[in-house]
């Protein structure tokens, strides 16, 4: 390309712009690195130097504490069967509750079918965030306070905690449905409910079921800790062994938890393969 004088000026200007942009982005990058490093230094200082009493902790003491867990106490194994089943059932019922509650929330939070437009959409999205952004332990505490000790609090906590994930993914699936069947339903005179039931539902069912299975798997993990705040299951057994300083028993409970989680993972893998 032959450049005239004017072109050259334009070219220089462009080069200047590029180098200015590069300098700026380099400065920004180094600034970010510096901030990340400074925050790390500040936080590590607080955690490792400020808050940890190194006179008390030594490799020997840590090793000794870890050693206590190695004497697995198999004598309590028999008494763990009922809590293990309870944990699995709590997770299942919690997921079912979450599934039932997630349907209306997904309906509100899907932009294309939200019944009252922007208003109900924002409400649905707020419900989803609310459900997801509170840790399951906090939900469990709230429900233990509200309905008392026992498995019901755990089921409710996991149900509420599951709404967020299920309804969010389903709402996103509803937003991307193929409009063809919806229009077809509308064209044959279906009302809103019928459009939902026959136009949208069949398209989102696979996503819905897949995510419910995934959430069930996660809920098994969650339900193992529900007992720590009084909501039944293996967590309660863990809490008891912990309060009795029976570290061998703690190790046994942990092994049972691990087995249950592995079983749940296998079951959810098989279920997903069977359905999808």
């Amino acid at each position: 390309m032959r450049a005239g004088a004017a072109d050259l000026t334009a070219y220089d200007l462009h080069a200047d712009q590029i180098s200015a942009w590069r300098n700026r982005s380099r400065r920004m990058r180094y600034g970010t690195y510096f901030m990340v490093a400074a925050l790390i230094a500040w936080s590590v200082e607080a955690i490792v130097i400020g808050d940890t009493d190194w006179d008390r902790i030594s490799w020997a003491s840590m090793f000794k504490s870890a050693r206590q867990f190695m004497d697995v106490d198999f004598s309590i194994l028999g008494s763990l069967l009922t809590p293990a089943i309870e944990t699995a059932l709590m997770a299942t019922l919690g997921t079912l509750l979450g599934l039932v509650l997630a349907v209306p929330v997904a309906w509100l939070g899907a932009a294309n079918i939200s019944p009252l437009g922007k208003f109900s959409y924002a409400f649905g999205r707020a419900l989803m965030t609310m459900s997801r952004s509170v840790h399951e332990l906090v939900w469990a505490l709230i429900f233990v306070a509200a309905v008392g000790l026992g498995a019901l609090a755990g089921v409710l906590a996991m149900g509420i905690r599951s709404i967020g994930f299920i309804s969010k993914t389903v709402a996103e699936a509803i937003e991307d449905v193929n409009p063809g069947p919806v229009e077809a339903m509308r064209a044959v005179g279906a009302n809103r409910f019928q459009v939902l039931l026959f136009g949208i539902l069949p398209q989102v069912i696979p996503v819905f079921i897949g995510n419910v299975i995934f959430e069930w798997d996660v809920n098994i993990r969650r339900s193992t800790i529900m007992g720590l705040v009084g909501a039944g299951g293996l967590g309660l057994a863990l809490h008891r062994q912990m309060s009795a300083y029976n570290y061998g028993g703690v190790a046994t409970v942990l092994l049972v938890i691990l087995l249950l989680i592995i079983a749940g993972e296998i079951a959810s893998y098989l279920a997903r393969r069977a359905v999808i």
């Binding site: 500040w42 009493d53 969650r222 938890i257």
Partner: protein
């Protein structure tokens, strides 16, 4: 059925979505599910007769005992320091956890792993086992081993972070295009060079997003690890719960919800900015 068959001879049967055998399976499945729910409610000793009206009773309990939240509790300087501690724990845990998770993600991604026979299953196993244990159980274990304080909380959340981000980072690697990888490999690069020059540039943006998202999830967990003696706001929550100071509990829970919500907004904002800056 051929097109010219005399349709009028046989009246069309009433249309049904499910015919005889399927309808039986359907009712059987519904009945089975109902039976299962009934049995598990019974097994969990949940009193079914008390379930109706539960919402009203819950509202009564919360409004009588937990309302109004005692805001002065969360305005104490100790509590505000605990919020800072929580932030520090979550931050260190995320950075360290991601740094450990990066090689694990590289070894544990099926397309890019240097050795499919040995490294791949080992890396997958490590990430899986970090993932399958709930973060609170890590906390309890590490508090028992290391003692009370922020260190066990940070370690516990590092484990959680490895499990959580390791899977997402590896999935991002598995989604890259193979062209650059082959080009770099054809120029004689070794595995590490392939990773640095072909994989990293492709996953950089996705990984940044994942890192920030992970921080936001780790922060949520960090607000409650203190419940088991691992520093941060959870410690205050436990104190108030044990003293049955319901209005303090309400204030702390509300403050946790607000702070986590703010963290989520910040994380979403940064992620949106990054994806805008790249596009």
């Amino acid at each position: 059925m051929s097109t010219i068959a005399p349709a009028a001879v046989k009246p069309l049967p009433e249309w049904r979505r499910f015919r005889f055998p399927q309808s039986l399976y359907k009712y059987g499945a519904v009945l089975g599910a109902a039976g299962f729910i009934w049995w598990s409610l019974d097994f969990l000793r949940i009193d079914v007769e008390r379930l109706p009206g539960i919402l009203g009773r819950m509202f009564d309990v919360l409004s009588e005992r937990y309302w109004p939240p005692q805001v002065s509790r969360v305005m104490e300087s100790g509590y505000i320091e605990a919020v800072v501690d929580t932030f520090q724990m979550s931050y260190v845990a995320t950075v360290v956890g991601i740094l450990i998770a990066i090689p694990l993600a590289w070894f544990g991604s099926f397309n890019m792993t240097p050795s499919r026979r040995y490294l791949y299953p080992v890396a997958r196993m490590i990430v899986m086992s970090c993932r399958s244990v709930h973060e609170m159980i890590w906390t309890i274990l590490l508090v028992a081993i290391v003692g009370f304080g922020m260190l066990p909380g940070t370690l516990a959340m590092t484990m959680f972070c490895i499990g959580f981000s390791g899977k997402l980072l590896a999935e991002a690697i598995e989604a890259i295009r193979n062209g650059p990888v082959e080009a770099i490999r054809a120029s004689g690069a070794n595995e590490l060079q392939v990773f640095v020059f072909a994989v990293l540039p492709q996953v950089r943006v996705a990984w940044t997003g994942i890192a920030i998202y992970t921080w936001d999830v780790v922060f949520r967990a960090a607000t409650v690890v203190g419940f088991f003696g691992a520093g941060g706001m959870g410690h205050y929550l436990r104190e108030s719960v044990q003293r049955v100071e319901s209005q303090e509990v309400a204030a702390i829970v509300l403050s946790i919800i607000l702070i986590v919500f703010a963290a989520e907004l910040v994380s979403a904002w940064i992620r949106a900015r990054i994806s805008r800056a790249i596009a």
